[in-house]
């Protein structure tokens, strides 16, 4: 393994990225969400072809055409989400696609021996190769995936945030395994947000930011402070309107909310006329908290009180209490992509759009007009299919839906993910206007709760911010008491 260099331009996901890994080395790849780590890994595993630049494996040019090719060349990926066939046994998963065979018949004895060997290497001596994968714990399943890589004599192992679903004890075991694999001359690329993991595990690190390599070096020589600075150091745009908000009474209160896995503990109070931000990394449990608040998933302990009413909830109840949510996943959860703008926008509240319980298309269109004008949403007419719109305009429809339903509490999960700067600015302005209200026009100030992984955005629009780290929500502090640096430190558990 002489190392992998690659650079590539054109697409902005990755710009001239350089990455080198030595044999038997653990190299940590760090960066914020959206910094381009996943894209880079997809290039490495053959899922994406680079526009420019080249990869070298053992000094030879390496162009993986597809994931299978990459696997055969000795580059194995362990993705954040498990990719196992749950109905098959551990050994079948480990040797899937490379089963030892004789004229189509599987040699079970050989299969079992090979699988047992691979399982032993990853420390699962006690797991029988015949065990169904779905009967293993998450941690064990992850080890089975690593065993799959080991069984194919991989030389480069890429682990994409492997610790995000593991407990502290399991993480320790994973570390031991990674170290022992490295000692067998396997190169490991370890992607993580958590600096303590980087510190504990890696010899070298590389920082990606906005699709570029912004730094790197020997891990033990680098101060955590410096790494954090490399991760966040970017210009803050003046996209953010800053008007004075006057918080009113408490409209939403969460008290020690917990679900089975995450969040583990989340308490906060949200007032009318206030924007509260929840920072944290992807996978910290923020979306899961929203699901609990909005009644999509049951909470196991703690309570959520909306407008003075505690107790279990359903999304329908929340809507009737004046709460609306914009999902982080616009395409699969947030919008009905096949339908028109008008259908999407009026979905939560179809009352009053016709005589009785009827819905008259003309009145549906008319109901959309004020929002299309005010926000504004760029479209030909409200009849246009929503799939025609740009991501930013789609997102504005998703938010306009809450306004149409006339909610008092807005839950916005990553409201600006993947949208253009212009739309971002409009959404920030809208959020600010909602929290401010308009006394003269008799518009009550609203309460807004925002999840974002983009720290400058939270600092720009929120009155108070709390940070979620591994399922625990910190106390909300006024935005002035935070810096980008301190938020990032809290998000990666460094405070």
């Amino acid at each position: 393994m002489r190392g992998i260099c690659k650079s590539f331009g054109a697409t902005h996901a990755l710009r001239d990225v350089e990455l080198t890994v030595m044999p038997g080395e653990v190299m940590a790849l760090v960066g914020e969400n959206g910094a381009g780590k996943s894209t880079l890994m997809k290039v490495l595993s053959g899922a994406h072809a680079p526009d420019k630049g080249q990869l070298k494996l053992d000094g030879e040019i390496y162009t993986p055409g597809n994931p299978l090719h990459a696997r055969e060349s000795g580059v194995a990926m362990i993705y954040q989400e498990l990719s196992l066939a749950p109905h098959l046994s551990a050994m079948e998963n480990i040797l899937l696609g490379i089963e030892p065979c004789c004229r189509g018949l599987i040699k079970w004895k050989e299969m079992k021996d090979k699988a047992a060997e691979a399982l032993a290497i990853v420390g699962l001596h006690l797991v029988k190769p015949e065990t169904l994968v779905s009967r293993l714990s998450i941690a064990q399943q992850q080890l089975v995936e690593i065993a799959r890589a080991v069984a194919l004599d991989c030389r480069v192992l890429v682990l994409d945030e492997p610790s995000s679903s593991l407990t502290a004890k399991d993480i320790e075991k994973l570390f031991e395994l990674v170290r022992s694999l490295a000692s067998k001359d396997i190169s490991v690329v370890y992607i993580s947000h958590f600096l303590e993991e980087v510190k504990a595990l890696s010899q070298r690190f590389t920082v990606l930011r906005d699709g570029k390599t912004v730094g790197g070096g020997i891990t033990k020589d680098a101060a955590e402070e410096d790494i954090i600075s490399l991760m966040v150091g970017r210009d803050v745009d003046d996209l953010y309107p800053r008007n004075h908000h006057t918080p009113g009474e408490i409209v939403l209160e969460a008290d020690s909310v917990a679900r089975t896995v995450k969040p583990r503990h989340a308490s906060f109070q949200l007032r009318k006329g206030e924007v509260l931000g929840i920072a944290g990394l992807v996978g910290a449990g923020r979306t899961e908290l929203f699901e609990a608040i909005f009644g999509l998933e049951a909470i196991t302990s703690g309570s959520v009180t909306v407008a003075g009413q505690p107790g279990p909830a359903t999304p329908a109840l929340r809507w009737s209490q004046g709460m609306g949510m914009v999902s982080e996943d616009r395409k699969s959860q947030g919008l009905a992509l096949g339908l028109s703008i008008a259908d999407n926008l009026t979905l939560p509240k179809l009352d009053g759009l016709g005589p009785g319980r009827l819905v008259m298309p003309a009145r549906q269109l008319k109901a959309c007009d004020p929002w299309i004008e005010q926000i504004p949403i760029k479209c030909r007419s409200a009849q246009q299919p929503i799939s025609d719109l740009s991501g930013g305009n789609q997102q504005k429809v998703a938010i306009a839906r809450l306004l149409h339903a006339d909610v008092d509490i807005l839950l916005l999960d990553e409201p600006t993910r993947g949208i253009d700067v212009g739309s971002k600015a409009q959404i920030y302005k809208l959020i600010d206007a909602l929290a401010r209200g308009d006394i003269e026009k008799g518009i009550e100030p609203k309460a807004v709760l925002i999840i974002s992984s983009y720290i400058p955005e939270l600092i720009g629009v929120c009155d108070r911010i709390s940070v979620m780290c591994r399922g625990h929500l910190s106390e909300a502090k006024p935005t002035a008491d935070w810096t980008e640096h301190s938020i990032m430190a809290a998000a990666i558990g460094q405070d």
């Binding site: 994931p67 299978l68 696997r71 055969e72 990719s83 196992l84 066939a85 749950p86 109905h87 098959l88 079948e92 998963n93 899937l96 696609g97 490379i98 089963e99 065979c101 189509g104 018949l105 599987i106 079970w108 169904l132 009967r135 293993l136 714990s137 998450i138 941690a139 064990q140 799959r148 407990t167 004890k169 399991d170 075991k173």
Partner: protein, 346 residues
């Protein structure tokens, strides 16, 4: 390491044998129900038992292929039509007239039935292959593809038969495949009709393929997690193609049995609604529409349950509408119990 901490009981609950065992118990319960409630013990007479076996053999044979398909998370609605195609092709071949009044089957009494079977197998397998090709190459949904071919293949069968029943001039061994044995004078040494023995052989082969061959394990892998299977280099497209072709092949065998069962007539309208019985048999047998699950033995038990309900209902003198409701209810019940069990394990 956080282990899933399954109780000993739940681990026990999930073993394959318990899975089959529970279904077998259901079969016994259903059987006992009719044995007790049908008057005068008519239900467990030799003749009736034989009838149950004969009728269920057709469903079960077609259901073997369907088991493969459903394990890959697919579905095949065209099986009833493919069975009819096979029936018609057999009758058509036996009915070829070489010259006026001289029939092929009279001139070549050995070769003709063999050729008839061969042609039927080719036609049915091609039908299955066509399904598979559309699903794999055009990336179409199996439900839609086979809904279409259900009509196309039925149409072809009717076209070959000129929309009439074909009566071959000569009785051949194909027509005798499902003739009663135990209750007949001279064939009782066979215990089961020849067609049932063919089914038994197929059960063995299909179970073996699913369990012990690379292809069989790929069938499960594709159904369990198609993306993973592809990442691991499993030939996903080829696996699906073979699965649908295999269903066509088993439907041809089911067609031979059906041909005999309905009295050696080439009836192009036979086997209507069979796809539903066949799918029900596979589902009652423990397969899941989301793929990755299912077994041949379970399917056979499922086919028996369906047939016993069907025939038992008739013998109880239930009106047809009650029979239909009962069978429908049982299908839902079977799947509901499975879901509940899965939820408990999750």
């Amino acid at each position: 390491m956080t282990s899933p901490k399954p109780s000993a009981f739940s681990a026990f609950q999930n073993t394959a044998w318990v899975n089959i065992g529970a279904r077998f118990m259901a079969l016994v319960v259903v059987f006992l129900f009719f044995a007790i409630f049908v008057e005068d013990g008519k239900f467990y007479t030799l003749r009736n038992l034989e009838n149950i076996i004969r009728q269920s053999a057709v469903y079960a044979t077609a259901a073997l292929g369907m088991t493969f398909v459903i394990i890959t998370a697919g579905i095949d609605l065209s099986v009833g039509s493919i069975i009819a195609l096979a029936v018609v092709v057999v009758a058509w071949t036996l009915n070829i007239e070489i010259s006026d009044g001289v029939y092929f089957v009279h001139e070549y009494p050995v070769a003709a039935p063999l050729l008839a079977c061969l042609l039927a197998i080719i036609a049915a397998t091609l039908g299955g292959l066509f399904n598979g090709a559309l699903i794999v190459r055009l990336k179409m949904v199996p439900f839609i593809v086979t809904l279409g071919t259900m009509g196309i293949i039925r149409g072809i069968a009717k076209g070959i038969a000129d929309e009439r029943d074909i009566y071959p001039p000569e009785e051949t061994w194909i027509g005798g495949l499902m003739d009663p044995t135990l209750t007949s004078q001279h064939d009782s040494w066979m215990i089961f009709p020849a067609g049932v023995w063919i089914l038994v052989l197929c059960i063995g082969v299909a179970s073996f393929i699913l369990k012990y061959t690379r292809f069989g394990r790929h069938v499960y892998a594709v159904g369990s997690n198609e993306e993973t299977a592809r990442l691991c280099g499993v030939p996903v497209g080829r696996t699906k193609l073979i699965v649908y072709a295999l269903t066509g092949f088993f439907c041809a065998l089911a067609g031979f049995m059906q041909f005999s069962y309905i009295g050696g007539v080439g009836q192009p309208t036979t086997g209507v609604m069979y796809e539903l019985f066949v799918i029900a048999a596979v589902i009652i047998g423990g397969a899941s529409f989301s793929g990755g699950e299912g077994s041949i033995l379970g399917t056979i038990v499922g086919a028996l349950i369906i047939t016993i309900l069907y025939m038992g209902g008739q013998q109880m003198g239930w009106p047809k509408w009650v029979q239909e409701m009962v069978i429908g209810g049982i299908i839902i019940l079977a799947v509901a119990i499975d879901r509940l069990r899965h939820r408990k394990l999750a």
